[in-house]
C-alpha cells in the first residue's frame, strides 16, 4: 500500500496554491449566488495517512456536520466535508443571512444550504486538483449527517475496505462577521485508485516515485 512520504515545505506550498485556486473559485461562485462577498481562506493543504486522520483533525474531531459526495471519473474516491458542529452557526449565517437556530436540529433549508455549499466547494476543489495533477474527477449528489467525526470517518474508511491509505485534506476557513469556522475537505481515494492518485501527486510535485 502506498504511503504518503513526508512532504517538504515547497510541496506543501504547491498543494496550498491548488487549494487557494479552488477556494477562490468557490468564493466567487458563492458570492454570485448570495449576492454579497464571501470570505474563504485556505489555511492548510496536505496528504495524511488514514490511520492518523483522527489525530490530525484534533479538536475538530468530536461532533460534526458531515457531508459525503461520491467521486468518479479517472479515479474513484469519496469526498467528506466536516464542519465543527459548535461553529456551524457561522456557516448557516453566511449562507442564509441569519443566525442558525439549533445546530443539533437543523431545518430542511439549513441542511440543504450546507449540502449546496459542499457541492460548490467540492466542484471547485476537484477542478483545482485537475489543474495540478491532471486527473479528471467529478462528484455526485451530497448526503449529510450530524454525528461524531470518528464514527463518520470509520464508516467511510471501512466502506473503502482500506485503513492504510491516505487522504488529501484541505482546511478552509469561512468567516462571517468576525467569527470563523474551519471546514475540512477530505478526498479519500478508493483502495484500487490510491496508487494512481498518489503517483499523479508525486508527478505534479516533482517527487520521484521510487525514491
Amino acid at each position: 500500500m502506498p504511503e504518503p512520504r513526508t512532504l517538504q515545505p515547497f510541496h506543501l506550498d504547491a498543494l496550498r496554491e491548488m487549494g487557494n485556486v479552488g477556494a477562490g473559485n468557490a468564493a466567487t461562485a458563492l458570492s454570485q449566488l448570495l449576492g454579497r462577498p464571501v470570505r474563504m481562506n485556505v489555511s492548510r493543504v496536505t496528504l495524511v495517512s488514514t490511520e492518523s486522520l483522527n489525530e490530525f483533525l484534533g479538536d475538530h474531531r468530536t461532533e460534526v456536520a458531515a457531508v459525503q459526495l461520491p467521486v468518479y471519473g479517472e479515479a474513484r474516491a469519496r469526498v467528506l466535508l466536516l464542519f465543527d458542529l459548535e461553529r456551524l452557526g457561522v456557516l448557516v449565517a453566511l449562507l442564509l443571512g441569519r443566525p442558525s437556530a439549533d445546530p443539533k436540529n437543523l431545518s430542511e433549508l439549513e441542511r440543504s444550504a450546507i449540502q449546496e455549499l459542499s457541492s460548490i466547494l467540492t466542484g471547485a476543489y476537484l477542478n483545482a486538483l485537475y489543474g495540478l495533477i491532471r486527473v479528471q474527477l467529478i462528484h455526485g449528489v451530497p448526503a449529510m449527517v450530524v454525528d461524531r467525526a470518528d464514527a463518520v470517518l470509520e464508516s467511510v474508511l471501512a466502506e473503502f475496505e482500506q485503513s492504510q491509505g491516505w487522504a488529501l485534506v484541505v482546511e478552509t476557513e469561512f468567516s462571517e462577521q468576525g467569527k470563523v469556522l474551519t471546514g475540512h475537505f477530505l478526498l479519500i481515494p478508493e483502495a484500487n485508485t490510491l496508487e494512481l492518485l498518489l503517483k499523479a501527486f508525486y508527478r505534479a510535485l516533482g517527487i520521484s516515485p521510487d525514491a
Partner: protein, 162 residues
C-alpha cells in the same frame, strides 16, 4: 467510572477481567462483538470493520473481520480462564450513516457486518443475548465484565444499557 478502561480501536481485540472495562468509541458501520463469561467475570470485545476475510490477504489483525474475530476472541478468553460453554454474546453497531446515498435493495456495510457477526456466533454455538444494531447513528460503548452490561451512547439520545 472505574479507573481502568481500555479503548478497543478499529480492527482491535481485547479481553478484560472485572473490574476493568472495555470501550469502543465512534462505531459507525463497524460492529462491536462482545463475549462475556459470567462465572469468571471476564469478557472480550472485537471492533469489527468488515464481514468476511475471504477476499483479502491474511491480516495481522483478526479483529478486522467478523469471521476471524470470533476465534481470536475465544482464544483470549480461554487464556483468562473462561469456559466456552458459559459464554454469551452481545452485538452493538452496524449503522448505515449515509443511508440517503444507498441504492435501493442494497445491503449496507453496517448490516452485512451485523449479519456476519450473528452468523459467527451461531456457528460457535454462543447465544446472542442482546443487540443494539442498525439505524443511521454512530455509537460509543462501554462494556463491564463485572456484570456483563454494555452502555450504548448515541448523539442526542438517551443512554441505553444492554
Amino acid at each position: 467510572m472505574p479507573e481502568s478502561d481500555s479503548d478497543v480501536r478499529i480492527a482491535g481485540i481485547k479481553a478484560a477481567r472485572a473490574p476493568e472495562t472495555l470501550s469502543a468509541i465512534g462505531l459507525g458501520s463497524c460492529v462491536a462483538l462482545i463475549l462475556w463469561e459470567p462465572q469468571m467475570r471476564v469478557g472480550a470485545l472485537a471492533h469489527i470493520m468488515l464481514p468476511s476475510s475471504l477476499a483479502f490477504p491474511p491480516s495481522p489483525l483478526p479483529g478486522k473481520f467478523a469471521d476471524t474475530a470470533l476465534p481470536a476472541l475465544l482464544q483470549q478468553l480461554k487464556d483468562l480462564g473462561a469456559r466456552q460453554g458459559n459464554l454469551v454474546g452481545k452485538l452493538v453497531g452496524g449503522a448505515n450513516m449515509f443511508s440517503a446515498q444507498m441504492a435501493p435493495n442494497q445491503l449496507s456495510l453496517g448490516l452485512r457486518n451485523v449479519m456476519a457477526a450473528r452468523e459467527a456466533l451461531r456457528l460457535s454455538g454462543i447465544p446472542l443475548k442482546a443487540e443494539e444494531v442498525g439505524g443511521t447513528k454512530g455509537r460509543t460503548i462501554k462494556f463491564r465484565p463485572e456484570d456483563g452490561r454494555v452502555l450504548v451512547r448515541k448523539m442526542y439520545e438517551t443512554d441505553v444499557w444492554l
